[in-house]
């Protein structure tokens, strides 16, 4: 039976509780990998593959007296094997109590015609914190690369914190590269709007926090996967 390699057939998705140390997206397929915990990893997306990596992080590392443990970041290196390789990485973070999330992605583009986008959204409650270093590196000659990175955080607890370090290193000119980061609270105006329509302040906030993740969730084609992820996020929200 002939199966076209550039396929719209959703392969379903693969679930790994922890991101494996080596991940390869190959054979020109469209593949999704879902995980709940980020660890050091080397990810390769081969030519023609459309890969999606989804991480739903609802359990951070706990504070440690060991300074090495306390500051350790999951180091994720991503490389692209050839033209047509594409990666979309979606990370959902819900931080509660003393949860700490610390990870780094380095997207290295050395060949022509690849795409990558990284969308990280976090809602940090109580004393939780997130540190994200997102590097986009385009090497000389890697024309027609299209990369984007966005990290948006809602700080919803009195001692919640976020540190974000989006980096760009660009050595090719026929490229599109950008990044954005925002940190803040729930928009006062929007809160007021909902309250004016009869919601209690707390209800309104809850609605907005849930809505915060919706745009990323809508990037997931597989509806049942989307519902599962949404449930997992809601279960962790206060």
């Amino acid at each position: 039976m002939y199966i076209p390699t550039l396929t719209h057939i959703d392969q379903g998705y693969r679930f790994e509780s922890v991101l494996p140390p080596e991940v390869k997206f190959e054979d020109g397929q469209k593949e999704t990998l879902v995980t709940e915990k980020l660890e050091d990893s080397k990810i390769i997306v081969e030519a023609g593959c459309k890969a999606t990596l989804i991480a739903v992080l609802t359990e951070g590392t706990q504070p440690s007296t060991d300074p090495l443990l306390a500051s350790k970041a999951a180091d994720i290196q991503i490389e692209f094997g050839g033209r047509g390789a594409e990666l979309v990485m979606l990370v959902f973070i819900v931080g509660r109590e003393k949860d700490r999330f610390h990870f780094k992605t380095t997207s290295r583009h050395g060949v022509q015609g690849t795409k990558a986008s990284y969308f990280v959204k976090g809602t940090m409650f109580e004393q939780s914190s997130a540190d994200y270093h997102g590097n986009l590196i385009i090497e000389k000659g890697a024309d027609e690369t299209d990369v984007y990175l966005a990290h948006h955080t809602l700080l919803l607890g009195p001692a919640a914190k976020a540190n974000t370090f989006p980096g760009l290193e660009i050595e090719a000119d026929e490229v599109k590269a950008g990044h954005a980061a925002t940190v803040g609270r729930v928009d006062e105006e929007v809160l007021f709007y909902l309250q004016a329509r009869g919601f209690e302040k707390q209800e309104a906030e809850q609605l907005l926090v849930r809505g915060f993740f919706e745009d990323l969730l809508m990037k997931i084609a597989n509806e049942s996967l989307r519902d599962d992820l949404r449930e997992k996020i809601l279960a962790r929200l206060p």
Binding site: M124, K140, G141, D143, T153, L155, L156, G157, P158, A159, A160, K161, A162, N163, T164, F165, P166, G167, L168, E169, I170, E171, A172, D173, E174, V175, K176, A177, G178, H179, A180, A181, T182, V183, G184, R185
Partner: protein
């Protein structure tokens, strides 16, 4: 304590433009305790300044070279003159000045009188008359605008009160170096409620000896005052020294406003490593406008510490890196009070193998409620040989705050180029217009002469880059 207005007006002869030098003493290259002592002796400084310099020298020796930023391996600390008096400063003849530099002067419309000065051909720029007239009107308002060397002597208490309070010697290796061997720079004090309409230009204060090697500038804007200070120029500026490490400290008191504009176009042999920082108190505004066009490597991150409620910081930065250049510039804002706001806009252009890097920090301390910050960095890469980097850092410890950051890197839009070319412009003209448009939000804030020169400079730079 500041001197009274009466005192200053009574003794005008104390405010001579030129400083007096002692004996002619040729100092060798290299850095040592003896050289630092000699610098202090030559300037006839009070004991506390000599001690400060010596302590700073020890700090300089004890600190390692930074492991980040540009490539500083080419700096040979022992092969530099740390203090040159005008009488023995080596200068070139007009014939030795490279043709491109002469052509640039023509293109930028630099007056004849200034060309030799800028090209390092010596002969002091005759700005004395201009300076004297300006000086009288300022003095009448109680304003102090002096060279830092002179200010130390004339206003010792005011000087000591603020000197090194924003950038201490141990801040970083190059601040320590500057603290040990500093010479020249401007000292400005604006009394309460005084507004200086005309921009004060460092240009007026430059004698041949103050070509800005290790300048130390200190500006104090007292409550409710305002001033705009400009230094540098768009014309390529020759310097015999290959290491420039200036320190600029600014104190903006309650309700005051300071704008500090720098346009730097040092020749391609220079390492330009600068520490610039301002402290803004309640309701104060600090505005840095930083244009980095020259030098081999510039590392400069104008900073504002917002320490009083409702203080504001605005930092606009343009960087242009051509062949063999690395502009590693950026901005730092620390929000340490409520309702503070900051805006950072950085525009950089890399061409011909040049490299521009934006390095920035936005830090919101816990308790700095209601703080807002917005950072926009855009970079243009004009060809395949060039490089652009962005390394921003955001450290947010206060949830009642709003921070946004965005950055883009791209080449000149093909569509826009095509549009202009289809309307009759050549590719080179079209590209120049687009590049000028790219930096327009910043250039339109420059005083007109500078804006005009900047546009001409871009025109010249662009001519080379489109085949």
């Amino acid at each position: 304590m500041s001197t009274t207005k009466e005192e200053r007006v009574k003794n005008p002869e104390k405010f001579d433009f030129k400083t007096e030098e002692n004996s002619v003493f040729k100092m060798e290259k290299g850095l040592s305790k003896e050289i630092v002592m000699e610098i202090s002796r030559q300037k006839n400084e009070p004991q506390w300044m000599l001690e400060y310099r010596l302590k700073a020298l020890e700090i300089f020796y004890s600190k390692p070279m930074p492991k980040w930023g540009g490539d500083m391996s080419g700096i040979d600390f022992e092969n530099i003159h740390y203090y040159l008096k005008p009488s023995e400063k080596s200068e070139r003849t007009w014939d030795e000045v490279p043709d491109e530099i002469k052509t640039t002067f023509d293109r930028l419309g630099i007056p004849e009188a200034e060309r030799k000065f800028l090209a390092g051909v010596g002969a002091q720029f005759e700005s004395e008359m201009v300076y004297h007239n300006l000086h009288e009107s300022l003095t009448a308002k109680g304003v102090i605008f002096e060279g830092t060397d002179e200010a130390l002597k004339k206003y010792p208490e005011l000087f000591k009160q603020y000197f090194a309070t924003i950038i201490p010697a141990h801040d970083n290796k190059f601040a320590a170096l500057n603290s040990a061997v500093w010479s020249g720079g401007s000292f400005i004090y604006i009394p309460k409620g005084v507004h200086i309409e005309l921009p004060l230009q460092a240009y007026f204060r430059i004698n041949a000896q103050n070509m800005g090697q290790f300048e130390r500038t200190l500006i104090i804007a007292d409550e409710g005052s305002s001033v705009h200070y400009i230094e540098g120029c768009t014309a390529p500026t020759y310097s015999s020294s290959s290491l420039h490490s200036a320190v600029v400290e600014i104190i903006v008191k309650k309700g005051a406003k300071v704008q500090y504009t720098t346009i730097q176009n040092w020749s391609n042999n220079i390492y330009n490593l600068v520490t610039k920082r301002a402290k803004a108190e309640e309701d104060a505004t600090m505005f840095w406008l930083d244009c980095n066009l020259g030098s081999k490597l510039t590392m400069k991150y104008p900073a504002v510490y917002l320490v009083g409620a409702r203080a504001k910081a605005e930092i606009l930065s343009i960087a242009l890196a051509g062949k063999g250049q690395h502009q590693d510039a950026g901005a730092k804002v620390i929000h340490a009070a409520v309702d503070t706001t900051s805006t950072i806009t950085s525009k950089s252009i890399s061409k011909g193998g040049g490299r521009t890097s934006y390095r920035g920090l936005v830090k919101i301390h816990k308790g700095a409620k209601g703080s807002k910050s917005r950072v926009v960095c855009d970079a243009l890469l004009l060809d395949k040989e060039s490089r652009s980097d962005t390394y921003p850092t955001m450290q947010i410890d206060e949830n009642d705050s709003a921070i946004a950051h965005e950055a883009t890197v791209a080449k000149i839009s093909e569509e826009q180029l095509f549009y202009l070319m289809s309307r009759g412009f050549s590719e080179s003209e079209a590209a120049t217009m687009l590049v000028n448009g790219f930096i327009e939000p910043i250039v339109k804030i420059l005083p007109m002469e500078y804006a005009v020169e900047m546009n001409r400079l871009i025109e010249m730079e662009m001519e080379g880059s489109i085949g």
